[in-house]
Amino acid sequence: MTVGGLRSFVARRLLLGAAQTVAVVLLVFALTEALPGDAAVALAGDQPDPARIAAIREAMHLDRPWYERLGDWAAGLPQGDFGTSLTSGRPVGQYIADGFGPTLLLAALTLALLVPAGFGLGVLAARHEGRLVDRLVSSVTLAVYAVPEFALGVLLVTVLALKLAWLPPTAVGYGTDLLAHPAALVLPVLVLLSRPVCSLSRLVRAGMVDALASPYAAHARRYGVPGARVRYTHALPNALAPAAQQLARTVDWLLCGVIVVEALFVIPGLGTVLLNAVAERDVPVVQGLAVVFGVLTVVLNLGADVVAHRLTPRAAVAA
């Protein structure tokens, strides 16, 4: 039943994920509908002349009943057609595609450093549980976790960029091709990394402490399995499930608007796109981003659930 069980679990979760995606789309539409005024009012801006607003409404088909508009908008989504921006007239899909590059780059870099650092620190602390190394790791991670990103960001910029001038303070002027200017990425990645490393390593530590003290770890040691093997192949899998969930939440956060960090370092990612769209009342862009973020969240949590299912096979029996 192992393979069949996993398959039916994934199938069930996929169905649920599809339902959740539909719910996200409906919710985003309903919430924008519920906003006072509409795009026409926002666009009319300084000249709120009713006749002009009515004209804009007609031009944008906003005078049609909501279900027709929902139908049109929703029908476009699967083909990647998110509508057009109110302010520039460019397709919303273009906005998202442009912003996605820098965001993805930041997320990938952060993740590539986060996984080894988080797991490494967690295992290290658990291995020396109660001793100096553990206390050091635990207290430093707690302290760093307590500092919000914007504060840490400002601090790092002040010290490393402005005072010491080792690194550029922002990514202004580099456009979306950030990879060509790696120095500009160091500070943002450091700030993005700071809190996730702490939460992840603390979770891994807690799981590893339990797993290393478990009878099955003692049994493996008793039968002569070497220490490193017991740690990484017998104990660690039991500590992974909560960490995998936490990792999914972190990736979700990294992809769906690290607004503070992008704003601080002026990186033209999705967070910046969102911030600008909100400032300009560009409803279709906000709507499009909300759908993308919603779908990403659903997909990432689905992935995390599958991983957790694989790591804690017993939980599936109860679920």
Binding site: T2, P215, Y216, H219, G224, H234, P237, N238
Partner: protein, 495 residues
């Protein structure tokens, strides 16, 4: 009496924790191909002695004495709960391969993998696990309890253990499984491996052991060949242990009014019917045993009565009034009337609060008693069940399994129940403790006029306590009748 061919030997072992000796002056010789049994109540030092052969001691222990193994003498361990030593996140084959890998290291690199694999499969076969290939790919929770135990045994065999320590291998198992475990361990001994059996199950000890050491409070009070010990026990404690084992059955009592009645009950789990009980009554002052193998549906019956399992379509009548199916919809008086005592007493207590507080809480919650009155009543009830004031104020971790089970009974009694349901409450206990609890239950039915007891059990000895016995098999009530009639003439219990 030192033998030339002993594979392991313990001399004058003393293990102390905080100045209290838990093992004191124990000598033990382990011979190849022989089964050496350590018997005694829980807390007598059996497990500590057994683990000493593995070189493992409780944390903070002071150890003196000698534990010697022959050259390269590896020791295997089969704990009481094999599931605990199987890694829940890894497949069964993972640890087995880790054990086999170094054994194939002397071979050329290309042959190592196949050689290790072959060794693993052979060990599975030796542990009487057919279809090894498929089993190795499963996770521990996908195995039955018996298969888990055999996998742990296979690990010890693969290791090449000369001595295998088996801790309470038959506790909580039904008769059929027990006899299979006995055969299994006999087969291990026949391979020339020394078996050290730690058990309070005297039937199993008698069937398996060559040498027996009777332990009490950390000391060996008597030792010798099993036949000699059974026929002419020298020490008074051994005699008590054996007497408790074959205690006489109870006399039958007259029946009172029906308290609880079950009508047309069909209970389901996930759309599978697990129990059919067309009609069942429990009379006032009566003790009813529900017996059957594990998985027969007897616990489901008990849980339906208590309102813990609501997926059934029958009626449960208390004094002629139907009880709501679910606990949530029952009134306080109805909750108090039917009380449930669980198998695992330790899991049924909050580990952070003193036992007496938790016992008293029942009276406050279910009968609206005042805090002080409830505590007083809790202390008297606990004292009557054999727990002193001092013990009552301890936390659950500081009480033994038997003591906690008494506390759990006291907690249920504080509700002043009409019906007390005991679900396998003696199955994790040693013979003497079990006898004590059973005597206590008999006393309760005798002294508390009108209290009815439902004993869920797979143990015939426990069932003998009852006036009436119901046999459940594969979800059907196959037999009902007086205890003597069912247990002696009945067919249902033959396993």
């Amino acid at each position: 009496m030192s033998h030339a061919d002993t594979v392991a030997e313990i001399r004058d072992l003393r293990v102390e924790i905080d100045g209290r000796a838990i093992v004191d002056g124990v000598d033990l010789q382990v011979l190849p191909g022989k089964v050496t049994a350590l018997v005694g109540a829980s807390g007598s030092g059996k497990t500590t002695t057994g683990l000493a052969l593995l070189g493992e001691y409780p944390p903070g222990a002071r150890v003196t004495g000698d534990v010697r193994l022959t050259e390269g003498g590896l020791v295997g361990y089969v704990p009481q709960h094999p599931a605990a030593v199987l890694n829940p996140a890894r497949r069964v084959g993972a640890l087995l391969h880790d054990i086999a890998r170094p054994q194939a290291r002397h071979l050329p690199r290309t042959e190592r993998r196949t050689a290790a694999r072959a060794r693993v499969l052979q060990a599975m076969l030796d542990a009487q696990l057919p279809d090894a290939e498929a089993l190795l790919r499963r996770h521990p929770h996908q195995l039955s309890g018996g298969q888990q135990q055999r996998v742990v045994l296979a690990q010890a065999l693969l290791l090449g253990a000369r001595v295998i320590v088996a801790d309470e291998p038959t506790t909580g198992q039904d008769a059929l499984t027990k006899s299979r475990i006995v055969d299994q361990l006999a087969a291990v001994a026949a391979r020339g491996i020394a078996v050290v059996l730690l058990s309070h199950d005297l039937d199993v000890v008698q069937a398996l052991a060559d040498e027996v050491l009777v332990m009490r409070a950390g000391r060996v009070v008597e030792s010798g060949p099993v036949e000699r010990l059974w026929l002419s026990p020298r020490h008074e404690w051994t005699r008590r242990l054996l007497e408790a084992h074959d205690a006489a059955p109870r006399e039958e009592a007259s029946a009172g009014q029906p308290v609880l009645e079950v009508r047309n009950m069909t209970a389901v789990h996930d759309r599978t019917t697990v129990l059919r009980a067309p009609h069942l009554t429990l009379n006032s002052g009566e003790c009813l045993a529900v017996v059957g193998r594990s998985g027969s549906g007897k616990t489901t019956l008990a849980r339906c009565l208590a309102g813990l399992h609501r997926d059934h379509d029958g009626e449960v009548l208390l004094d002629g009034t139907a009880l709501p199916h679910s606990l949530r919809h029952r009134s306080r008086a109805q909750l108090a009337a039917v009380q449930y005592v669980f198998q695992d007493a330790r899991a049924a207590f909050d580990e952070h609060r003193p036992v007496v507080a938790q016992v008293a809480r029942t009276a406050v919650r279910l009968r609206g008693a005042a805090e002080q009155a409830a505590t007083d009543e809790a202390l008297t009830t606990l004292a009557r069940l054999g727990l002193t004031d001092d013990m009552a104020h301890r936390r659950p971790a500081e009480l033994s399994g038997g003591e906690l089970q008494r506390a759990a009974l006291a907690r249920a009694l504080l509700a002043h129940p009409r019906v007390l349901i005991c679900d396998e409450i003696t199955s994790g206990l040693d013979t003497v403790t079990r006898r004590g609890i059973l005597d206590l239950l008999a006393g309760l039915v005798r002294d508390r006029g009108g209290l009815s007891l439902v004993l869920i059990t797979h143990d015939q000895e426990t069932a003998r306590l009852a006036h009436r016995v119901v046999v459940v098999d594969a979800g059907e009530l196959v037999e009902q009748g007086s205890a003597r009639w069912v247990l002696e003439a009945g067919t249902g219990l033959r396993t």
